[in-house]
Amino acid sequence: MDIQGVTIVRDLDTEDMVVNIGPQHPSTHGVLRLVTTLNGEVVKDMEPVIGYLHRSKEKMAESRSYFQYQPTIDRVEYLSSFYDHYAYVASIEKIAGLKVPKRVHYIRMITMELNRISSHLLWFGTFLLDLGASSPFFYAFRDRERILKLFENITGARMMYNYYRFGGVNQDAPPGWLDDVRTVINELPDRFDEYEAIVNKNPIVVDRTVGIGILDRQACLDYGVTGPSLRACGVDIDLRKANPYCCYDEVEFDVPTSEEGDVYARYMVRMEEMRQSIRIIHQALDNFPGGDTAKLLKLQKEYEAAENEIKEAKKRVMLAEKAGNEPDAADVAKSQETAPQLDDDWKYQGQKVNLLVYKPPEGEAMTLVESPRGILGCYLISDGTPKAYRVKWRGASFSNLSVLPPLMVGNLYPDLMAIFGSLDVILPEVDR
């Protein structure tokens, strides 16, 4: 360069700084490494490095029996593992053609929707913590705690549920559980209002999220982004509506969408989804087949007593006939009766399977469910042995994470927390 007769050999240039964000970093939500090239505070390039949490969950399925493998599914996506269990169990049910009672479907639906709320609540708390607000984090965890308590009461565990079984669930809901659920979901909308009073129109939140990290529709489809992130850019795909599994065709709910596709839209879509989940749970509770367990147990006892009476009567009739006596007319009448049976749809377990040596027939099945993070798939091939031939998981987080680098390039470094937080990625599901 030549300015006013002075030759400049080297211009004042700046060097890019490469920052390794993670694997241990407060806002990577797990063990993710983002090799980020920064020019000042502007992100020039970003490359996610994954695999720190790889535990070969798919391969494990091939060396374990179906039931033995099931607890490890919890560890794939620990914030909403009911969905993974459902995908796995439903695949087996499809292969084996197991009939699932309706009560089981409703229990599954309630637990899954509660799980969606708890997962979104955790997302809400950590997302705002990433933005720097601390109180909503504690409020969200306070309310999530109540849902976890419900899970503890029904499954015995707060995170690693291991509750769904082939053709049923592990145990019936404890007596009074449905009322507990109703109490919790009646109070939650007020809490959501409080969150939204703090967050929704807060100028700092709005400044940091509106117009930031805009995902367009085509990019979403190209990268395979699903779930709320996809719906936030206007694509109305929700498997609960598009391909109703469980009993989702029996409940009414809306699929919230937004056109903008920015961080704020994703936030709003998730907040609305929680309210819709509450709507679903309310309907499921109202139409719960068999009603509360305490009532059902009482009914079962009555039926058993009736059956016993008939058996006794039959016995007396038989004894009398053996002895050559005329049997009592009342006994004869009684012995003709059939004992009332519990409706098949009121049971918590369909056909009883021997979990120890369970072998579904040869076949393969794919189950897709709408998890809080997007479409979750389980592809299962059975070769008729007690061990699966192959289990393939399609986690939503992997695709959702892959869209991060193109979203980040050109944005500021602090936007990383808003954008990455809004994608709601969970690393164990990415690495599996």
Binding site: V6, R10, A133, S134, S135, R208, Y413, P414
Partner: protein, 447 residues
């Protein structure tokens, strides 16, 4: 009264207590010797300052606990309650733990600057305590340019942050340090600009005089905050929170982005110094808000002071202890002591209200982005502050017609000065820019 004239005497920031006379009898010191007088003055100042520093440390220790408790209560938790009654000794326990921690130095650090940075951060903040008039008697030094001095000192501590960020050899620290520099430059300007109207109103930069000038017949409504200078007050409040790096302006140590920002690599006592200084700065800034806008130690109800109530002081006097204590401090009577107690109570009450407000904000708001942070300052706060100064200046001129005539008679001089100013400053910049660019070019050619 004994101390009414103290503040006005800028040469003599405080008076020696009467018992210094007895030093002549006890130790044979010639108290008429001016050198000896100066020495004693210095010694007494040191004693006062030490007392204030101890109080400051205690205040900081209490504030750390208060912050944790307040944040806990705002989020339906209990907060620390294990060490001591109600967790009162929690901060002390943490401090002791930090004292015994290993002082970790990683490779590639600039050892000298790394060690120096916490001290540079720590010292100015604690010097600031000397300037704050807790009462009209209890203060370290009554500088005639107190308001100016405070801001010049508090901007030094930013240097500590930048040095810490640089010397740590950590990229997060570096970004944090650079952010703190950018933030300090952005927010010290509105901070000072917000204080100028106060100076215009009080006709003084002496903090004590500023407090005294706020005493009026309307009680809390004759303070500067409400209808006199609301814009100044808001700008000052926002900028002071930015100055002490608290949420929503805690960019230098944004924990979700920069892990811990400029103090990521610090451990043990060095970290504790950063930690303490941050809280001390919060206290100083809250105290300054009170001094500048909330009447300092003045009672919020005009005329209704505790001094109006007659206390039965015979109890204290019978023991003869009270009076000797008073002699030692230079306060003439028990009543005056009670007035002092009342003043300090009001002062601390108001200060802790603002500290609580800062904690409350921390519990509510998320963090800004650096570009928003600087945009908010340069595009909004500074123009607003400038307009505010102009309006206040006009108002002051309006209120004092004699100054208006003074101004009118001086118009030719003002015009002259303006011309000199424009050409002088412009010429200076023109010269320096030429000079520096040439020098720079020469260096670039060499390399």
């Amino acid at each position: 009264m004994f101390f009414t004239g103290v503040l006005a005497q800028s040469q003599m920031p405080y008076q020696l207590p009467e018992w210094f006379v007895y030093l002549h009898h006890w130790a044979g010191i010639d108290i008429t010797d001016p050198l000896m007088q100066a020495l004693m003055l210095f010694a007494w100042g040191a004693v006062l300052f030490t007392a204030i520093a101890v109080v400051a440390q205690a205040a900081v220790v209490f504030m750390v606990l208060m912050e944790r408790k307040v944040l806990a209560w705002l989020t339906q938790r209990k907060g620390p309650n294990r060490v001591g009654p109600f967790g009162l000794l929690q901060t002390l326990a943490d401090g002791v733990k930090l004292l015994f921690k290993e002082d970790i130095m990683t490779t590639g650090q600039d050892k000298l600057l790394f060690t120096l940075a916490p001290a540079i951060f720590f010292l100015p903040v604690f010097v600031l305590y000397a300037l704050i008039p807790f009462t009209d008697y209890l203060f370290g030094v009554a500088l005639p340019v107190g308001a100016l001095f405070i801001f010049s000192l508090s901007s030094i501590s930013v240097l500590g942050m930048v040095l810490a960020g640089w010397a740590s050899n950590n990229k997060y620290s570096l970004i944090g340090g650079m952010r703190s520099a950018a933030q300090a430059i952005s927010y010290e300007i509105p901070l000072v600009l917000a204080v100028l109207p106060v100076v215009l109103f009080a006709d003084s930069m002496n903090l004590g005089v500023i407090v005294e000038s706020q005493k009026g017949p309307l009680g809390m409504f004759s303070w500067y905050w409400f209808y006199l200078l609301p814009i100044s007050f808001l700008i000052f409040l926002i900028s002071s929170i930015a100055e002490v790096n608290r949420i929503p302006f805690d960019l230098p140590e944004a924990e979700s982005e920069l892990v811990s920002g400029y103090n990521t690599e610090y451990s043990g006592m060095k970290f504790a110094m950063f930690f303490l200084a941050e809280y001390a700065a919060l206290f100083v800034m809250s105290a300054l808000t009170v001094v500048l806008f909330f009447g300092g130690y003045a009672s919020p109800l005009a005329g209704a002071t505790l001094a109006g109530i007659t206390f039965d002081t015979t109890f204290i006097q019978t023991f003869g202890l009270g009076q000797s204590l008073l002699n030692a401090t230079g306060i003439p009577s028990i009543d005056a002591l009670l007035v002092q107690c009342e003043m300090i109570t009001w002062f601390l009450l108001k200060t802790y209200c603002f500290i609580f407000f800062a904690m409350w904000l921390r519990g509510t708001l998320p963090r800004l982005k650096p570009d928003q942070l600087m945009g908010f300052s340069w595009k909004f706060l500074i123009p607003l502050a400038l307009i505010n100064i102009f309006l206040v200046a006009v108002q002051r001129l309006w209120a004092h017609p004699d100054q208006m005539t003074l101004l009118a008679s001086n118009v030719p001089y003002i015009v002259l000065w303006a011309i000199i100013l424009v050409f002088g400053v412009g010429g200076f910049f023109w010269f320096t820019s030429r000079f520096f660019t040439e020098k720079l070019r020469a260096r670039l050619v060499q390399s």
